[in-house]
Each structure stands twice: as C-alpha cells, then as structure tokens.
Amino acid sequence: MRYLLRRLGFFVLTLWAAMTLNFFIPRMMPGSPEQALRDRFSKGGNIVSPEQLRTVLAEFGFDPGKNLLLQYIEYLKAMVTGHWGVSIGSSLGVPVTTLIGSALPWTLGLVGITTVLAFALGTLIGTISGWRRGGLIDGIVPPVFIVTSALPYFWVALLFISLFAIGDHAILPNDFNYDQGLTPGFNGEFILSVLKHGILPAATILITAVGGWILTMRNNMITTLAEDYVRMARAKGIPNRRIMFGYAGRNAFLPNLSGFAMSLGFVISGTILVEYVFNYPGLGYMFYNATVSTDYPLLQALFLLVTLAVLICVLLCDFAVFLLDPRARTKG
C-alpha cells in the first residue's frame, strides 16, 4: 500500500511542479501577448499605441502590468477551479473551454484510437513474431514496419494524399474532419463522412507508430522466452497459446506499458504535423497556434491537460504494474 501512496504523493508534487513551469515558461518565451496582438492588427499601422493594445487585452481579462506573483496565484486558482478564461490570441475573446471543447473530441478520436490501435497491433505482432522467431511472420513484418516507422509523418501523409486524394481518381478527402456542406449530427451521412475523412490521417499515424511497438515487444519476448519459468512451463506441457500470452507475453509486456502510458498522455497534444497536413482541426494545431500568438490562457489550459493526461496515465500504469507484477507488490 505504501507503494501506491508514494506514487500518489509523487503525482501531486509533479503536477504542482509542472503547473508552475507551465506558468513561467511561456512568460520567458520571447514576445508578449501585446506584441502578438500588435502584429495581428497593426503591422502596417503606426497608430495603435501600446496603451491601446493594453486596453484591448484588459477588456478581455488580461492585465500585463500585474505583479507576476499575483498572476501566479490567480493562475493556480483558475487552473484548479477550471476557470480557464478567454483566449487572448488569434481567437481573441473565445472561452478557452469552448476552443478546447471543439478540438478535443477530434484529436481524441483520431489520435487516441490510432494510438491504442497501434499499440495493440504492435504488441500482438511483436508477441507472435518473437514467439516464432525466424519464422515467416518474423522475417517479413517487423523489418517492413521498422522501415515505415522511420519514415517522417509529414512525408507519409503527403504520399497518401498524392496517391489517394488528388488526381482524377481521388477516392478519399485530403482535408478537414468532415464534409464542409454537412451539419454535424448523429446521422449516417455525417458519421460516414467523419470516417472517410479519418482514414488517411489515421493510416499515417498507424503506419509510422506501429513499428516501434513491434520491435520492443518482439525483443522483450525473445529475452523472456529464454527464462527458466518459460522452459518449465513447456516441460509441464502447458498449451503453447497459454505460454505465449499468459507466461511470456505477460512479462514481456510490462516494460512496454509505461511507454504506452506516456504515448497515451501525449495524445492530448495530438500530432501537430498530421493535423497540419490534413487540415484536421485538433488540439495539436491549436497548440502550435497558441504558441505562435503567445496566447497565455490557451497555452496554460492545454499544458495543464497534457500534464494531467500524462501523469494520470503514468499513475494508472503504476497501478497496472502493481496488479500484474508480484515483484512490485512485495517491494512496497
């Protein structure tokens, strides 16, 4: 039990540290919201004074002159209570929660599902090819996927677009998350459109992500298979399938788990490049945009989400290890 409590304590401490960094790092970046705003609406103009910019920002709830410590305390309070304020960047005045709310489902849907899928597929293929080391599957699948996982997202995405989305025989859309003419709603046409628009970006992520999981799982599998308890299980005549998944797989899987937890956490930040290329309006792009326009409230909220997601996933992973691995229990 002490193990779990210690993990929980660690969680709270990390969260606080991360939130503090989230507050100070954007403020140490070059530029300021005033400058970003100035760029946006008076690049050619010599008439918009700094006071004018401050008035506009103050109107939207940001006071750049305020004491930094005071700002920090207010920030902590706002983060905890969920009052995340309004954007002071390129979506000036839109509540941060609205912005995130409109982008989150798309990123979770696209990147979340594909991440889980990539992990599940990669683990399965890795287990099998590790089990049948030197076999037909082991000879073909891992090398192929290791090559594809080394390809840059961006390039794969562009390749897919040029193969499937442009030209005279375009079969799949190259941009947006659904057909622009449709109104979102639970009907067949809309769902089909969402699925169609998701195929290419999802395939891009899948193809570039799955190789890593295959490789680590296969290698873990090979070392585990050499362990005595596996040989023991074979000697006892336990069915192969049970040894593969229940004995070797279960242990080989453990080191991969924390990697998976991390990657789940980073689902929130999306995959900026994929969202960029496919014009998919998710959180990854929002991150980029918020950084460019020094949008403190949006940046803070997004960072908080990423931090929370990573930490929670790691915490859950710790619990899972606690359940799966007897050694973790005895140590605690």
Partner: protein
Amino acid sequence: MRGITRIAVAAIAVGALTAGCGGGDKPIGSGASSGNPSSSTSSGGSTGQYKKGGTVTIANVGGQTWPCQFNPFNPSVNGVAGGFVYEPLTFVNVLKAGATTPMLATDFAWSPKKDSIVFTIRDGVKWSDGQPFSADDVVYTFNLMKAQPALDIYALWTGAGLTSVTAAGNKVTLKFKGAAEPYFFNFANQVDIVPKHIWSTGEAASKPATWADPKPVGTGPYTVESCTPNNISYAANANYWQPGKPYIQKVQYPAYLDNNPANLDLASGKAQWGGQYIPNIDKFYKSKAPENNYWFPPTANVALVPNNDPSRPATSKLAVRQALAYAIDREQVSKIGESGYQPAANQTGVVTPTFDKYFDKDALTTAGYDKPNVEKAKQLLQSAGYSSSNPLKLSVITVTGYTDWDASLAVIKQNLAAVGIELSVQDLQQQSYNQKLYTGDYDLAYSSLSGGPTPYYELRQLLYSKNTAPIGKQANSNYSRYSNPEVDKLFDQYASADPDTQVKLIKQISSFMIKDVPLIPTTESVDWYQYNTKDIEGWPTQDNPYAQPAPYNIPDAGQVLTNLYSKSAQK
C-alpha cells in the same frame, strides 16, 4: 510551413492599413458621384444584371479554426465580418491610387482646411433584419468607439484627432483637430457601420468590445447562415440595397490551417477564390485547369532595413548604405528569391506599376540606382574605410521559415560578397525577430510593411521621425531609426495639400530615399490571389482592378463578392 504564417499575418496586416485616402482619380474635395457602386465599378466588373445563383468557396489560409464571432471591432475576427456583413461609408481602392466608390454614404465633402468632412448618408438602405438604416447608426458607431477605447482600433479619437461626430438629417459631420485627410482611408473605408438598434441593447451594449456577435446584422451583401469551427456559410442578404445584387447566393469560407490543403483545393477547383502563396504556381495550379488564373498586384516593399542609429558604426554611414544599394541586383533577387512572383523594387520606395504617377524614374536613373553598379559600391566602401584587409562584416535578421526571404537573402549575400561585404544571415523565430526589430537591436533587417492607397502611407511609416524611438525602446514602424526634419516637414504638408501637390510631395520624399538611403527596397510584396473562372465570373483582374483581389482584404472582399456571378445560373 512557416512562410504561411507570414502570409496569414500579412493578410491581416493588409486589412489594417494605416491612414488616409489619397489624391485619387477624382478630385478629393468633390467626393464621389452618387449612385450605385455598380456604376463605378462597371468599367469592367459587371456591365449588366445577372441571374442569381451559384456558390463561391474561398480557400484562404487563416491559420486558425473559426471562432464564430463576428464583432467587427475585434481585430482577430473582423476579416470574416467586414465586407461580407458590415460595410463602410466609402470604399477606397488602393489599386487605383485611392479612387473612391460610394457605399453607405453617397457623397462626402471636405471643409477647405480639411479639418472636417460631411458625409451624405444613403437613403433606402435596410439592415439585414429589415430595420431601416440611417445617419443615426453612423453617429452611434463612431461615438461607440469614443466611449469604449478598446473599440477604437484605428485610434481615430486618440491618434487622428477626431473631436466630434454629429448628424443633421441625412448628413453626418466628422470634425478633427487638424487636417485629417490621411485618415480618410481609416474612418471612411475601414470602420464598419453597426446597427444602433442591436448594439444599444443587451450584452452588445454592456460589453461591446468582447461581445461575440454570433448572428451579425449588417447592411452588407451577405448574412451568416451557419458557422462551425470548420466553416462559415454565408447566404445572400435578401434586403441588400444594391438592386439585384449579390448574384452569388452562397459563400463558403472553410477554415484552412495550412497552405497545403488550401492549395490542393484551389488546384482541383473545389475552391474558386484563393489568397496565398503557391510554390511553383504555373505547374501546381495554372496547368491543372485552363480556368485557373492568378494575379499578384504589388502593393508595398520588401526591404533591407539598415540601422541608421549612430550606435551602429557601419550601417549609420551613408557610404555603406549607398554601397549596399548599388551592390544588390534586385532583378536577380526577384527572379531567384521570389520566383518572379514579386517584382523588383526600386530605391525611390514607390511601388510600381501600382503607383506609377508618383514614381520619379529620372531621379532614379540620374542617381544610378536603376541597375546594380559593383564598381561604385566598391569605391564607396573604400571611401568608408573598408578594404580586403579590413572587410565589412554585417549580419541581417530574418524570420525563420520564410523560405522565399531566405532565398532572396542568399542572392543578396552573393551580391554583397562580390563587393567585399560579408553578410551573415540570422534566422530568428518570429517573436525574437520582432523584439530585435522593434527595439533596434540589429545591423540589417529584412522586413516588409503594408502599404496604403498612395505611397504616402508606407513611406510615412518607414521614414516619419514620430514613428521611430530611441534604441532599446519599441519603434512603431520606422525601425531604421531614420530621422530628418526636412522629410518630416514634407509629410506634414501632405495632409492638407491638393492632389497635384501631394504627387509632388511624394516625389520629394522619395528623393530623400535616394539621397539618404534610409532603407533599401529589394522586391515588391504583392497581394496573393487565385481565381477560377469555370463557373464564376466578374473577378477583379489586371485590366479591371476594381478592388484588391485577395479575399483577406477587407472591405475589398465585399466589392468582389457583389460583382461575382455564376455562369451556369445564367442559362
């Protein structure tokens, strides 16, 4: 990928030009002939009535999803409300040297000293909700900006010296502290008139600056039919005051985050109206369909900005700046750096052919700046004390990701190496670049500002001493720290001068560009504009530049939209 961001920023910047209306085609005092804008633009835009129908899809990279806010006073979103839904009093055409087209005002007249102006407000205009529009709405709009400083985004009350706005019948009078003609462009062309009956109640009245205005009521050709983060769908305004217009019944404005998808949609014809940089445009866009067209009218300069402040021993020397100006082969920069999309600029700072009548070609030739002169550049450097044993080393700041600028600077670097100047290029992230540029922490900067209806606007930003600041303090737009009382005097005379004198004044000002070389224009920045004529006609073209053609130009987009028509709907 980041070059795109620049275009997006530039897009917004172009919409927020500085000040004033210049001596246009028409004498300024007389305003414009009353009547429909259609008659003023009939020089080519639309010659008759067209049947209604058709859809236009705009592919223009805004670099963000739509916030679905249409408050025209919010600088982040006014590009989707102005021109579409809200309209100004008068349209000022930058491409026709500030020629005016009456919109919500049928006429205007300046006082002799140009310190007050009377607008005649158009009769018979209705808001899109059916309520009548009147002079009261105009007065309300301007006074709202006085009461709420956050709304006064063109600083009319604080900077331009506006003192009162009053109505008498259908006449609205704006009074200023001094001659105010240079601000005409702002108050007549850029301020969107909003309805008093909507804005004086509820949330609009209590928080006008932050109100989202999700269902805007305007006088413009379109109303917002629906809006999602992905797409804004506009429908024709049935109450529109220009009879028979708009012809196009629907406008789709999808939110593109990046150039690639927008370029693809333009090339395939899925979208018909574009406003961005497309690399290798002839192959990627033009060759895809005979109906795909593009036109890039130049409107301002891209320049090498030397730091004129005495704290910079090299660039503050006139001989060094002259050497730079002689050494650079602008044609080569244009061809190699900008693929020829941006034409070569000239040392007078006057953008040609857009502002040809202000351009003093003889002065340029006399000074020898019409072509590169390596020998002269070498001599000047020698006179400034530099030689092969003591070479001049300079660094130039630019923004990382602006690939066309990088290519241009590579050419410039070669040009300068030929005369013995070692140039090192510093690619900086946008915000760091801005910081250095604004505070004067550089030798040379590669930079571009937006223009205005005459060269006055850009030159004033660049050269007027009130727009600069000491090193370490943020300068408004005169980043080169140039300050010359004689030049200031010329700028001051411009506001109350008659059109002919204004042309002379600009020629005089540009003579100082040659004499003092405060900065070195290299190429001319352009409006990016692609259009597809498969179904839609009525586009602005080089022969008929009735408005700035890129969709991000506000209120110009409104002019374009009221002139477009669908060919298939005519059958």
